[in-house]
Amino acid sequence: MLSIDAVRKEFPLLAERTIDDARVVYLDSGNTSQKPRRVIDAMTEFMETTYAPINRSSYRLAGEATDAYEGGRKAVARLINAPSADEVIFTKNASEALNLVAMAWGRTNLSAGDVVVLTEMEHHANIVPWQMLAQERGIEIRWIGLTDDGQLDLSNLDELLDGAKVLAFTAMSNVLGTLPPTQLLCSAAHAVGALAVVDACQYVPHNVTDVQAWDADLVAFSSHKMCGPTGIGMLWGKMELLDAMPPFLGGGNMIDTVTFEGFTTAPVPAKFEAGTPPIVEAVGLTAAVEFLEELGMANVRQHEMALTRYALDTLNERFGDDITIYGPDNVEVRGGVFSFAFRDLHPHDVSQVLDETNVCVRAGHHCAKPLMKTLGVQSTTRASVYLYNDEADIDALADGLEGATDIFGL
């Protein structure tokens, strides 16, 4: 069990920031999470005591900085049960990690007519890089549709995967909260010889992650959604795949040697880390992972399941037919993300009214416009919870929605 009061004290913004003399009710962690004090301190302390370039200079300080940076890689590998820390590549964010896959692996292995299978609940980050490849070389994109309750419709999976070279899918929808059967999908992809690419951006911060149990090939996720800093994302991949892939970006650090005639690449992971990487951010990320390990990801998931149940029940009981919450009702297969339509109010107006009581939610298409089309809406209001939220936050959301009714005179 998590003690939310104790957890919240670790987050300066949640513990101390007030707007109009009231605390902030942060329900936008699907967007980005708040940062605990120890992450902020770790980054500051590193810059005050240990900051230096990595992998370049031979003085002792540079060695310490390199060790600190590589510590981030080890921490991330532990968190997702990767066989080797060298399989963890640091990128700018999860979007860059997915672009790396589409560009480095895709450009090498896909040609006109090849099939990439996506799902209708993907974030733009796992759609557009593949569409860029489709424009560039005429690959075909197929879509796994949705059931009425917002789960993947796998009834025609065999047909969709027939002849596919890639299955790229989210492990948790950023709009519906849906948790697709990741292991099953990876195995279905492998059965037809396709690559299994997982967008685990929403999944890793909220669940116990085991990339080996999934038997995924490539997994993208980000630091800033799991209490770490912005500016650093991760791609984990099986070493033999990463080894065989050409580099994505060229520059310093990623080479073995450069001559007037050409270059050879450094071994993985350096091969995919051109230029000075996010050094300070890797240090902050290490502190974030240690924080999550202390809490225990199983406890985080359990807390969020209970909170998700409470939120679904509270919102449905208080607003009945006036609210439509998208996604599955079964918390076994959904995380703490609630996209909803409230009466006939526009999400912009809903979030504006909620902001009056410091309830922070996202209004819009959530970078998933194709999914909006499937749902038959233009946009939704989305509340998303994390390890620092509790039932009082859900109550504040519900109270805020009552306020919207008053203002718009409905």
Partner: protein, 158 residues
């Protein structure tokens, strides 16, 4: 909730609940331009009829209709916009547009002589939006789309 009352004034809510000049016009003869707000996904369509387009600024906006979906601010702003431009000279419509954008605090509005005299009437009610910078793009979505529609109506070749 003083800030919100400033944003959601009664006249704005009235235009939101009962939008004026909603619908479509046949194209041609009307011009249709779609506008998007990429951040929130709002979409608006402006159908514009301009008579004697060859007269440039002296041509007359004879009809306008609004389609699409959006929040209370973008919808009410577009609704009020239709009332403000029907029957007006194109040159005067552009002046109202400049004055309105300047009310919204939009930078780089090239105000011209005489714009000060423009009466924004109901549109003045939207000045509360300025306190909510995120919503300014909602308020000007219809106007930006109208500007494109005017350009297209006056110079269809472009």
């Amino acid at each position: 909730m003083s800030g919100l009352e400033d944003l959601y004034r009664e006249i704005i809510l009235d235009h939101y609940r009962t939008p004026r000049n909603r619908g479509e016009l046949d194209t041609p003869p009307a011009t249709k331009v779609d506008g998007h707000n990429p951040l929130c996904g709002d979409e608006i369509s402006v159908y514009l009829m301009v008579e004697d387009a060859e007269n440039g600024d002296d041509a007359i906006v004879t009809d306008i209709k609004i389609g699409g979906q959006g929040c209370s601010i973008s919808q009410s702003s577009a609704s009020m916009m239709t009332n403000a431009v029907i029957g007006k000279r194109v040159g005067d419509v552009r002046a109202v547009s400049r004055k309105f954008k300047s009310l919204m605090g939009i930078e780089n509005v090239d105000l011209q002589a005489g714009d000060d005299e423009v009466d924004l009437e109901d549109l003045e009610a939207l000045q509360g939006v300025v306190k909510f910078p995120v919503r300014i793009k909602c308020a000007v979505l219809g106007w930006n789309t109208l500007s494109s529609a005017l350009d297209e109506a006056l110079d269809p070749a472009e």
